[in-house]
Symmetry: C2
Subunit: 231 residues, 2 copies
């Protein structure tokens, strides 16, 4: 069995970013599975077209290909049921569906304008041009303008984490005593930011900061060992 994973990179193939690929990396590690990385850049649409996707992550498992981090998490849970559960039961899986959307909106979407201007310098020229064009259209403003506002806009991002912050007062992980896929959903965003941007998303006194430290140390420090900025 050799798993392969298309992962987003820029000029440095050893520096995978993408919050969604990191969700999958953590999920694979949780299952005790390793995957051979296939570095992939934004404009290499043809490389993944055979797998009916325009975006990564795409997981290859023998003859099977699965695109989209949520679909991959479900595939791993169903295909490798004897390994540690990502969801802790069917109730957890169902409720994680909303957690995944919350992570997309409040976490990934919330930090996007804060770190987006730091991303092009990590990309090849053709990808940087593609990235700037598509992301400025999404933002409705130049990347540099979003960055100029970030010392102020980080406050609303932090406020948006309040449901998570309160949760971490009574349990170490969103998944309870140990991390599960709910944690990886959120952590994927923070690891994305750590890889591409020196911007301080969290105050050190924030319980979410301590939680991120724990996730950086999980799986023998897998995420911390991946190249990134100090957090």
């Amino acid at each position: 069995m050799t798993l392969k994973l298309f992962e987003l990179v820029g000029t440095d193939e050893q520096r995978p970013f993408s919050p969604f690929c990191w969700r999958t990396r953590m999920a694979l590690a949780h299952k005790g599975l390793s995957a051979q990385s296939i570095p992939w850049c934004f404009t290499e649409k043809q490389a993944i077209a055979p797998h009916q996707s325009e975006k990564v992550p795409v997981l290859l498992d023998g003859e099977t290909s699965v695109a989209d981090s949520w679909a991959i998490a479900n595939y791993l849970e169903d295909t490798y049921p004897d390994r540690p559960s990502l969801f802790g039961g069917e109730g957890g899986r169902a409720i994680c569906r909303m957690m995944n959307w919350w992570g997309d909106i409040a976490v990934v979407g919330g930090m996007f304008p804060l770190i987006v201007a730091d991303i092009p310098s990590h990309l090849k020229p053709v990808d940087a041009a593609y990235f700037r064009k598509t992301r400025e259209a999404r933002l409705g403003k130049p990347l540099e303008q979003a960055a100029a506002e970030r010392d102020k806009s980080v406050e609303s991002f932090r406020k948006g984490l309040e449901p998570m912050r309160l949760t971490l007062k009574t349990q170490d992980y969103l998944g309870g005593d140990a991390p599960n896929y709910a944690d990886y959903i959120v952590f994927g965003g923070f690891q994305w930011a750590r890889v591409v941007s020196p911007f301080k998303l969290l105050a050190e006194a924030d319980p979410v900061y301590a939680w991120r430290e724990r996730l950086l140390d999980t799986f023998d420090g897998m995420a911390r060992k991946s190249p990134g900025f100090p957090v």
Copy 2:
């Protein structure tokens, strides 16, 4: 076995409100349990003081008393494990902890300024005075001012439901194919609003509206049969 539940009411003892009491009502029904209602008003602190609480719901189960809706849900799950599960496993319970905070902040907190001005007319004079004083301090403005802004502020409330709205595109309930405690967390807020206010929180085309309809019909229409305004 006779369960008893302290529930918040105003002048009409047949019209329980409180989003938190409704979470418990739904949880009890999910477990197939019934509880004798003990009507309770805001200023009747002495009645529940013996149970180490200043707020409702408070559940009495023989010699045991449990305060706080989240604690009650956990108590019911642990004490009645052979009845339908509220969480669908330990993963679901852990992840629901954050859902509960999200429900408190985005749902109950989000609708609070939209419906708060409609509440005093349901209360006895002594409770209405207590309510106005404590809630205006929380809002930082007169109740009527919050109400005057609500046609505009409802938009940000609706936007805050986006993670839930997207989830309901692929499953009927937050709990999956059938409702579980994740649904009751959110529904408690909507039922609170329905009991006390004619204000339209949701557009009819919203998937959250259809979800609320399904919850109103659950348990043989238990919530819909309780007095309230049309939604």
